[in-house]
Symmetry: C2
Subunit: 335 residues, 2 copies
């Protein structure tokens, strides 16, 4: 009686098949076969990443719409390709949905996915759907390439390199605090809306990442998803080197500077440990005055690589300590 039903097979076929240019360069077979098929027309390595978002873990449905969820799913995956200096090209979508779904959920999600994939020129080439026993789970496998064929890896920072970050830090973490307290309320101030948008609709540094790669100035690069310190720690892993961060150099947005204290949050702690900014963190032997980019996004030197293992936080030259070390969920094993 007015109920709509779709089979698992139909969901991808009916709603998502037409996203992106299914005859895009390189796509031999997109959605609708056992596997997607992409051609290799040039000798450039393929970048592949996979990231998922799960209801009540990565977001609350009371403050994130299906449209926003789809956009953010694309953004977090594009950010990983950007952190390699690559251009995103092809995506596979995985959906696990409870039954019944909220009216309009699939349509909203589809629109967000299409808008986001289109904005980056990504073609959806496959996917799978399943029922979920509870939470909504969405995931994307994203493939991309570097224009010059040389990805920027995590593991070659050099002692003496300067640490740079793009954009501003802490906005998304503060935005999450606001969302959890107030939701997407019409009572939010303009600055609060800016901060919540930074959490809900992050802009991955796709073009800037490619420009950093093409200029061959970075010795290592990563995107900031877990928080500056946690992700810097990943950069330093497996190397007997360390880093110093000068907290007075951390780039803040005006909104962040004004609003953080209203929520009794330390701007420095948020900027150092808050996750989901999806800015790029990279190291370069070049000093700031030798860097120039066509992107208007700020690029800020925040410290350097040292020969002493570990991460040292300095405030006007004096070491300071922090309580948290970036967002990291810890799993516990029974018994």
């Amino acid at each position: 009686m007015g109920d709509k039903t779709w089979s698992e097979f139909e969901i991808i076929n009916r709603f998502f098949r037409t996203i992106g240019n299914q005859s895009a360069e390189g796509v031999i077979t997109g959605i609708g076969d056992d596997a997607a098929v992409i051609s290799e027309t040039r000798e450039r390595p393929l970048l592949i990443t996979h990231d998922m978002m799960i209801e009540d873990i990565h977001y609350k449905s009371r403050w994130m719409s299906p449209y926003q969820l789809a956009r953010k799913l694309v953004a977090v995956n594009v950010s990983d390709i950007a952190a390699m200096g690559g251009k995103p090209l092809y995506a596979l979508l995985a959906l696990a949905l409870p039954d019944p779904m909220e009216k309009g959920w699939i349509e909203g999600f589809r629109k967000g996915l299409e808008d986001a994939l289109d904005s980056f020129g990504i073609t959806l080439i496959g996917g799978d759907t399943s029922q979920s026993p509870g939470p909504v789970m969405v995931a994307l496998t994203l493939l991309g390439k570097n224009d010059d064929g040389t990805p920027i890896l995590r593991h070659h920072p050099k002692v003496g390199d300067t640490l740079y970050v793009t954009g501003t830090l802490g906005d998304a973490a503060l935005g999450l605090i606001i969302l959890n307290q107030k939701g997407q309320s019409p009572a939010l101030t303009e600055e609060e809306v800016f901060l919540t948008q930074r959490h809900l609709d992050p802009i991955p540094r796709a073009v800037l990442g490619q420009e950093i790669a093409s200029k061959q100035i970075a010795t290592a690069m990563i995107d900031i998803s877990d928080g500056l310190i946690a992700d810097l720690d990943h950069l330093l892993e497996e190397a007997s080197i360390g880093a110093e961060i000068h907290v007075e150099s951390l780039p803040y947005s005006e909104a962040f500077k004004h609003v953080a204290s209203h929520y009794h949050e330390s701007p420095e702690t948020l900027a150092l440990t808050g996750g989901e900014d999806y800015e790029l963190l990279f190291t370069s032997p070049l000093p700031p005055d030798r860097l120039s980019f066509s992107s208007p996004t700020a690029i800020t030197p925040i410290g350097q690589i040292t020969d002493t293992p570990g991460i040292k936080i300095l405030k006007h030259g004096n070491p300071v300590s922090l309580d948290a070390k970036g967002f990291q969920h810890l799993f516990h094993q029974k018994g």
Copy 2:
């Protein structure tokens, strides 16, 4: 106090990093960077598939161990690559796990994953982990290639082609009925164990799929995951052709023939509509006596492609009808 904890980052790094040959041909950067990087050394298109398994939807933890879950996750993805005639090469793992996890879960899953990936020569090149608010969710992105660079697609069956299936049908569906009624009980008969194993630990036709591709005898191929009729329906999609199936030709295992009636199940319905056999269904202009394979797996002609749209089921030449049309979860939209 004896509790073990791992961060999300550590789970992939600590438990899964050493699976497969991380310096396998083509792997430039495996686990541990923002994206995996694989090289293209020959002009062969890349096959990509993604399949997930979710607790209480695809399996029950009371009758499937973490070891078996990992093996089956690999098998269902390998089956998709096999259905293209491809060889599986690289995998990315996604895990969403509740906290706390059962003691030994990760270790058991890891062992199953390693055993399965090793048996197919697949290298794990990346992955991501997350907390889950409830069910265990595991997913794999699998990449592969065709040796001769020519995948077998779904959409070129020709009128007059013979329909072939590999192995036997219905075992996995009957195995699932047994598991749901009795679990993995020591009281199961040898035949019941065989059938439950066909559900728990399916053997994807990886080598046979590659042989079918290299001999260039198939006009279309698909793996049977949703059930013979449902998957045949996918083969016929977008073509104004149909198929006839001769039910007396359907290949059954001895165990299936003996046990089905104990569970008051019609062998024909199970074989036609039961899912998860992960056998291959393909069409070929060649008659049975012109087919020969090095694989010992049976290949059985079960019908042919006709110029009448739809699927006709014939029993000794007479049309029969069925209640179910293969496993297909239908999603409902509220309102």
